[in-house]
Symmetry: C2
Subunit: 356 residues, 2 copies
């Protein structure tokens, strides 16, 4: 069944939903996808008519530049449902602006705002049954762009594909994580692409993270590549430190992702009267605070991870356990954030975006 809707999106509906085959109580992150996907190709110098079609494998040339030169960027977003069945996005304009910022840095053409929002909202309304109400439930949304031109010269492609796929999700990390502070490996360079959600930034972290996992840690907190003295981000999350009653987090830069959850936590801290300093955070300071007992918490903040407490860190063979507090900032921010996201509390900053 093919129809053209008022947004000029060509919609081809799936004949059968696979929703009844999915166990929503036992979801592994990012493995199950909904019935439909959004697809828009860039050809002849412009984005062509967008389509929503059944989620399915696609056909692509082995010479497509994305396979050879990593010309690919993405976003991570979530949709939430309240008890009345209303669907909400959380600050989606932030993701829209960021995917185009990432795209520009990777020499990928920007995607039009009306295509992005019309496509996303049309898709979410079609997939409404996949968005379950209740705190902790969400539909993870993955917009991404890949270079499809079949040519292996090392230069920007002439053709691209923008897609949105969706996967029902619980929280990414379901228990406190143990982290290593990076001493040798690096995530990004000054003047590089660390601030972008560029595909290649992630694969570069897998090997060092694997080494950390062999030592019993879940994640790495990356440090600056030049000196390894300053703590930056965790690759899938920005990082906050609580010393005494004060929060500290690193400033964004061309090495650090400008996280939507990060900036929301900074605002919520202000709302809640919690002092939050945005400044370079040294490894030395955190180790000293851990040693003298003033380090109360470390937690990560990200769309997939939400708020993820850290229970231990290692640096230079020193391991510090961080006792988990009953009334932690992490749990306070998580509750405050998810309440806003699920339409359970006031939204004084206008962060909720209802999908009607």
């Amino acid at each position: 069944m093919v129809e053209t809707n008022p947004n000029e999106i060509v919609v081809v509906k799936s004949e059968n939903s696979k929703i009844n085959t999915v166990d929503f109580d036992n979801l592994t992150f990012g493995r199950v996808f909904t019935d439909h996907m959004f697809v828009c190709d860039f050809e002849d110098g412009k984005w062509q008519t967008p389509k929503i079609m059944p989620y399915q494998p696609m056909t692509i040339e082995p010479s497509a530049r994305v396979f050879h030169y990593g010309q690919a960027v993405f976003e991570g977003m979530k949709a939430y449902k309240d008890e009345d069945g209303k669907i909400f996005l959380f600050r989606p304009e932030q993701n829209f602006h960021r995917i185009n910022k990432s795209a520009s840095r990777l020499a990928i053409p920007e995607f039009p705002e009306n295509y992005f929002f019309n496509g996303l909202e049309t898709l979410l309304k079609m997939e409404s049954d996949w968005i379950k109400p209740g705190l902790g439930n969400s539909l993870y949304i993955r917009p991404f762009v890949i270079a499809t031109e079949p040519a292996i010269s090392a230069s920007p492609a002439a053709t691209y594909r923008f897609m949105i796929i969706c996967s029902p999700a619980k929280a990414y990390y379901n228990k406190p994580v143990r982290v290593l502070f990076a001493e040798k490996f690096s995530r990004s360079a000054d003047g590089g692409v660390g601030f972008a959600k560029a595909a290649g930034n992630y694969a570069a972290q897998f090997y060092p993270t694997g080494l950390a996992q062999k030592k019993g840690f879940d994640q790495i907190i990356w440090t600056d590549a030049s000196t390894h003295k300053y703590l930056e981000e965790a690759g899938t999350m920005n990082i906050f430190f609580r010393i005494g009653d004060k929060l500290i987090t690193a400033p964004t830069s061309d090495r650090i992702l400008d996280g939507v959850t990060r900036k929301s936590v900074i605002q919520l801290a202000e709302d809640l009267g919690i002092d939050c300093e945005v400044r370079p955070v040294s490894v030395k300071e955190i180790k000293e605070a851990a040693a003298d007992g003033s380090l109360k918490e470390i937690f990560g903040a990200g769309t997939a991870a939400v708020i993820s407490p850290v229970s231990a860190f290692e640096h230079a063979d020193d391991v510090f356990e961080i006792p988990q507090l009953e009334a932690s900032y992490a749990s306070l921010f998580k509750k405050t954030l998810t309440s806003i996201q699920h339409n359970l509390s006031d939204d004084k900053h206008g962060w909720r975006h209802e999908v009607k």
Copy 2:
């Protein structure tokens, strides 16, 4: 027609060759591919039976990790034909070892040596008509590996595809190039993946290179990300500087690709009695040598580029033109290298590898 050959490669031959549709005198790099490709999938913890099949688009899930996390590495090699119709590779063991070094850094399983060489040689024999004799002609060979697992959690994939595709080629740059020395943007960080032929390293260069092109330059010579004081490589080529009669090139590191052409030039310099220093090369030194006239040449060295002379560079708004010498080191190395590659001269180091 499906057959199993003694190397245990399943071979499916193309019904019709497209070779007669190709204008070998007017080739654009990396746009035309030969009739067949080599494909081997990693599944269930091991590399499966390799296949050679007609070159064709492939089917892949939108959630394949390569699209989201850039888990992809590649190599660049060339096959040459002499006037007797014999086919030669140039130091292919270097490419084999390097693709596995790149793979390990990107948490991709290593590819077996016998699969690599049997696959490559079987493919080249099938594509012999595509390899034209004559200096300047070659068949560019692109082995690559991509993460195919359909799951968007940020962790290494469980399934991969190793492929080899081939494209008839002339030299990559057909005239001297004008370059910018990087002052703000960076290619790679200490502790990063700059030494690997990781897909993401290339896309990260496109935007800064585009800015350079708008200023009338072809390429960027990258500098160290921490200080931008030392010259590293050009992204598609390693770089040599000639001051007086001496050659200088930067040492390899975790930021700089260990180029096969680079190490061959260093050896050939020794053979030819040319002093070659492998040491950090500062921007200051090169600008001073350009100013006092002792900078005689800059050239790039790479498989696609072969030896590519630089005719001008810019740094901090200072532009230096480099007069092109009649009897340059660049032309000497190019002639020496291509003579070995095309079986026109002695091969005292055993670099030629005949495909029989």
